[in-house]
């Protein structure tokens, strides 16, 4: 699962994605005193999810700052701080609250550099979440990364492993542009090897999570694991699936997607955002445009159902792609159903 772009030094430990995120923040907070974290209940509480646990003890309340429940306000404050020498990391508890910060993010942070002819820079990271099936209902389960990916001037990162999460977050904090870093609420527990030493993963370089020959499964964030599980199911049927993780939506490593699709001749894009007008449409279009003459079948898209996320378990469980549904779609695309 290591990135082709950076060699992981010898000596690794097993961490969860949450621990990897926490470690990346701690390292950057230590390295650069202009870095600070601001958000609701980030200090003593370490967020309701405990992802930031321990940071306030080491860095103090001046750098791990509990804010009022003012998502737009803290994002705006971060934009001003970023323009004037700081590197804020804004914590937006649920991705559903992106609804409240879109002006500061899309009209201010994303455009300041361009509108000023390159003079102002806004090196901020906005960390938030995506993902359903947590029984949190319609206002705490959305995956709205398509909105921010559509905004020129924003970089968008969707890590799927502890290794990627740490390397990408450190790179995001050092990036001179506004970066939206989105973590899946359900995958924070996922474990993986992380090297002892420092490393960065450049934004804009995708990763092949599993090599295959017959079909390409492009997965983002939580759906990378769904695709990997689907690939196992498919292997049992003698279908060799390649799993590709773009890791960042913008910049997008389109070449990696296209190369894989050209090789396999078939592709399915799986993303946890709503299917219509979602990220899967862009990734499928990139493949459809550039790999068209190598494709043996249409590029399919699987995403969250186009319904507000329902609370009731038997309803909610149907709304997100599963290894079974991805495998079924793959079999059909390969004419094996």
């Amino acid at each position: 699962m290591s990135s082709p772009s950076v060699a992981a030094p010898a000596g690794t430990r097993e961490l969860t994605i949450a621990q990897a995120v926490n470690e990346a923040l701690a390292e950057e907070l230590r390295r650069d005193e202009t870095v600070f974290v601001i958000g609701e209940d980030v200090a003593e509480a370490g967020t309701p999810f405990k992802v930031l646990a321990g940071l306030v003890e080491e860095f103090g309340v001046e750098r791990i700052l509990d804010s009022p429940i003012s998502e737009a306000g803290i994002t705006g404050l971060a934009v001003g701080a970023a323009m004037t020498g700081m590197r804020p990391v804004v914590d937006i508890m649920f991705g559903d609250f992106l609804t409240l910060v879109m002006d500061q993010l899309a009209n201010q942070a994303a455009k300041a550099h361009y509108m000023s002819g390159g003079k102002l820079t806004v090196p901020l990271v906005l960390r938030t979440t995506l993902g359903a099936t947590r029984r949190s209902a319609a206002q705490h389960s959305q995956s709205l990364h398509a909105w921010v990916a559509h905004v020129p001037g924003l970089k968008v990162v969707l890590p799927s492993t502890p290794y990627d999460a740490k390397g990408l977050l450190k790179a995001a904090i050092r990036d001179d542009n506004p970066v939206v870093f989105i973590e899946d609420k359900m995958d924070w527990r996922i474990k993986g090897d992380v090297p002892d030493g420092e490393y960065l993963i450049p934004l804009g370089v995708g990763d092949v999570k599993r090599v295959g020959e017959d079909i390409t499964l492009v997965g983002t964030s939580s759906m990378v694991h769904v695709c990997l599980a689907a690939a196992e199911l498919l292997a049992a049927d003698g279908i060799s699936a390649e799993v590709v993780d773009p890791r960042t939506l913008s910049p997008l490593d389109g070449d990696l997607l296209v190369r894989s699709a050209e090789k396999t001749g078939r592709a399915i894009v799986v993303d946890e955002g709503h299917r219509s007008y979602g990220v899967s449409a862009e990734l499928a279009s990139v493949i459809g445009e550039r790999a068209f003459y190598h494709l043996d079948a249409p590029v399919l898209r699987l995403g969250a159902m186009d319904v507000p996320v329902p609370f009731s378990p038997p309803l909610e469980d149907q709304t997100v792609p599963t290894p079974e549904s991805v495998a079924a779609a793959a079999r059909e695309l390969c004419g094996r159903s």
Partner: protein, 332 residues
Amino acid sequence: MSAAAEHASPGSVAPEGPWLDMYSGMTTIRLFEEQVNDLYRGAKMPGLAHLYIGEEAVAVGVCSALRRDDYITSTHRGHGHCLAKGADVGRMFAELLGKESGYCKGKGGSMHIADHANGNLGANAIVGGSTGIATGAAFSARRRGTDQVAVCFFGDGALGQGLLYEVMNMASLWTLPVIYVCENNLYNEYTHYLESTAGEILDRPRSFGIESAEVDGQDVRAVFAATSSFVERARRGGGPAFLLCNTYRYHGHHVGDVDRAYYRSKDEEELWRSERDPLARFGAWLRESGVADADRLKALDDEARTLVEEGVKDALDAPFPDPSEVTDDVFA
């Protein structure tokens, strides 16, 4: 009665307080929420819930001053508001369990229960998210020429949301019949409100020209009296009001928040539970003022307990919605 009048703000005429209904209402909320906690601990309830225990006097005091056709908007901590506005215990449990017979057919869950028939426009999982809705319901009442009022419940944390100031400004400009009820239970999740709130809370609505008052949220008669006078004023076309209710949640921010020592002390919790419990205080007053004796109250407690026990039992036995319903109700 005099008890209520005695608590009413100057100039208001508090209606006869249906004291025993209030007592039953508060008791039902308490027992309902304890049951919710058990359901969570017993892994019988999907997801989480934010218990209203300790704050019962606010919802009951406020809603007892409203008519069935008046509106309320609620919050993530909304079970108490919903019950106080007249919701059925069984259908609420069913919703919390994601069952077909729930108020929202299981689609909403704890943070989204709506009971349109009783004027409850819904709980809301966006802090401050319903302040516009309540203001709009009041706007609609005025435009439709009714004398309905709308009550907007929200917590101290919602004071951080800019939307509240945008709509209070319009409510004041257009003299809308909306009452903003701020439930200050001292915490925004795990952060004390003083760390997130500058200045004096009441100065904020006042700066928009909104009539404001503060009340002991653990005294249901005081809440009822203050609300009654604001409601009556709003019905007469007197415009919006803001009621700050000082209260406390006994349990965690949500059912899973059990280790709270890092953000509040056991002593603080104990003080509120032992010295200021709204049910105990109200019960004592009912007995002392001769409205009801211990046996009568015991009988009401038992009624409430039966109601809750039967309600949860039915809900547990009720079926989940048919999977096909997932695509229903996206559009009207």
